[in-house]
Amino acid sequence: MKLTNEDVQGILRLLDATKYDELHLETERFKLTLRRNRESGDWTQERQVLSAPKVMQSSAGVSGGAVNVAPVAATATSDARKSGWIEVRAHLPGTFYRAPKPGAPPFVEIGSCVEEDTVVGIIETMKLMNAVHAQARGEVVEICFENAQFAEKGAVLMRIKPGNA
């Protein structure tokens, strides 16, 4: 049996009639803490389902589809040539898109000249499209991610060689 919301309400009714302000319950399957705020008299709960998921091992016919797991982009580089380059990083974790929509030309290519506010890509996080700005004036010299690749927060998406290109 699983702990239901009705169970919690039932436990709370029992507890409310006592002088206790806290209850901790832990089994293999769940963990429940009920706590009474001394001033307001309000109860709060912290609940965790502890049962491990029972994942059915891959059966024939359940196909995945294209896997889009990104290799973590190489970040720090010792190459002295790159020392002055500016890194454009992902400000949020999400899917990196190089173009405004499928089939459209990319925002920038290697060699493109950019200004601080030039949009160089999009990061899709939680179904929201967030523009990635160059934040430097110069020339795009390296693009580290493929279109539709997943980027962790802080990953280097591209590098810009600063200058009045």
Binding site: Q9, D42, K54, V55, V62, S63
Partner: protein, 452 residues
């Protein structure tokens, strides 16, 4: 037919919600989860979890083949699609029909009738329900003629879907061509369908909807909900029943929604959405949602039914066990959607790992969530962390209860919009009830960002 094992083709709080009802009814659950959700609360609660693909929803939660295959592998006799993803997708419903699996939702032809906004408008008209004045536009000339006829400003909308995508507000003919092009591009990208229609823009409107339930023959309504508090067409606070409308108007809305669903011989749970024109005190048909909705708990609170249980019953082919007169409404309910959004920084999404989750508990308080300490909030899906629902004897009591419940709600590890809700619930205009859809924008403009 009695359903013994249901595959849940969804994630997050709604997957947990559906599993809980199934467990209460003694129905086994198979969860279809992406790689990112194999350790989720829903996966911990389900009897079996089957991986249907990578995190990216187009390869998993939107992958019909993988979902139907999972239903076979898990020996499920039905699929519950939840909301969003494939919940109103005719192809999934048809694939279920072909595979001999019960789709817990309306029939294919009903999904077709309401999925296309223009078809839905036409059906509504036949059932005696007027849409907002407007119609399809195939060319700039036609759009200009129609806009002049119905009056500026107008709203351009996508025929293929809603959610604010492909929507453009236009104030004069000079901006029409550019707006149409933008709307068509967005509609094509979002729904694969660039077709557009226009409607008269209603400056002061309220979004009011009626919950209906049908068994293919009989239809009942389960009252109104007010969902006017929206940001970029995403609802944030909902309540039931809709406050501050005359009982005559409310009855008219109930009747119109039931008539529309009857006209479709509707089977399943559905919502008929209306736009209430505050200045004209009249309402128009907007669209019908052929699925369970995020805000369904406020309806459950006031009518005492479990809507997932009702969905399962009509999917099994049973007749409605309630007549309209059996449905009694009690009190007032409010729901706040708690999202992983850093609302003080322009609602920036905030994925991550939840370190602590404390929820209020007590009479008339409900929290629907998939969040617990240690839960991950992946960046791939929407930002809903959970819903806080309160139920009081009347609206004033519900508002008080919500204030208190919010103060006892705490999530750490990811940014949330909890403090926005706390400020919103204390707002005087909200306290009066019946705000229009422009309210939230005004509220946010008025420096309410600083409250946090």
């Amino acid at each position: 037919m009695i359903l013994r094992r249901i595959l849940i083709a969804n994630r997050g709080e709604i997957a947990v919600r559906v599993i809980r009802t199934c467990q209460r009814l003694g129905i086994e659950t198979v969860l279809a989860a992406s790689e990112a959700d194999l350790d989720s609360m829903a996966a911990r609660l389900a009897d079996i979890t089957i991986c249907i693909g990578p995190a990216n929803s187009s390869a998993s939660y939107l992958n019909i083949e993988a979902i139907v295959a999972a239903a076979f592998a898990g020996k499920a006799d039905a699929i519950h699609p939840g909301y969003g993803f494939l919940s109103e997708n005719q192809k999934l419903a048809a694939a279920c029909d072909r595979a001999g699996i019960c789709f817990i939702g309306p029939k294919v032809e009903q999904l077709d009738a309401v999925g296309d906004k223009l078809k839905a408008r036409a059906h509504a008209a036949v059932s005696g329900l007027a849409g907002v004045p407007g119609g399809e536009i195939c060319s700039l000339d036609e759009a200009q003629r129609l806009a002049t006829q119905i009056g500026w400003p107008i709203l351009i909308k996508a025929i293929g879907g809603g959610g604010g995508r492909g929507m453009q507000q236009v104030h004069d003919a000079g901006k029409l061509a550019a707006a149409m092009e933008m709307a068509a591009t967005e509609a094509e990208a979002s729904f694969g369908d660039p077709r557009l229609y226009i409607e008269r823009f209603i400056p002061r409107g309220r979004h009011i909807e009626v919950q209906i339930l049908g068994d293919g023959e009989n239809v009942i309504h389960l009252g109104t909900r007010d969902c006017s508090i929206q940001r970029r067409y995403q609802k944030l606070v909902e309540e039931a029943p809709a406050p501050n409308i005359s009982e005559i108007l409310r009855e008219e809305m109930h009747r119109a929604a039931v008539a529309f669903a009857r006209h479709l011989d509707y089977r399943g749970l559905g919502t008929v959405e209306f736009l209430l024109d505050c200045d004209r005190d009249t309402f128009y048909f907007l669209e019908m949602n052929a699925r369970i909705q995020v805000e369904h708990p406020v309806t459950e609170a006031i009518c005492g039914l479990d809507l997932v249980e009702e969905q399962i019953a009509v999917a099994e082919g049973r007749k409605l066990q309630w007549k309209q007169d059996d449905v009694k409404f009690l009190g007032h309910a409010i729901e706040c959607r708690i999202n992983a959004e850093d609302w003080v920084h322009d609602f920036r999404p905030s994925p991550g790992t939840v370190t602590r989750a404390v929820f209020p508990v007590g009479q008339g308080i409900r929290v629907d969530t998939h969040i617990q300490a240690g839960a991950t909030v992946p960046p791939y899906y929407d930002s809903l962390l959970g819903k806080l629902i309160v139920h009081g004897a009347n609206r004033t009591e519900a508002v008080c209860k919500m204030r208190r419940a919010l103060s006892n709600f705490e999530i750490t590890g990811v940014a949330t919009n909890l403090s926005m809700h706390a400020a919103l619930i204390r707002n005087d205009e909200f306290a009066l009830g019946g705000v229009d859809t422009a309210f939230l924008h005004r509220f946010l403009q008025n420096g309410n960002r600083e409250v946090a």
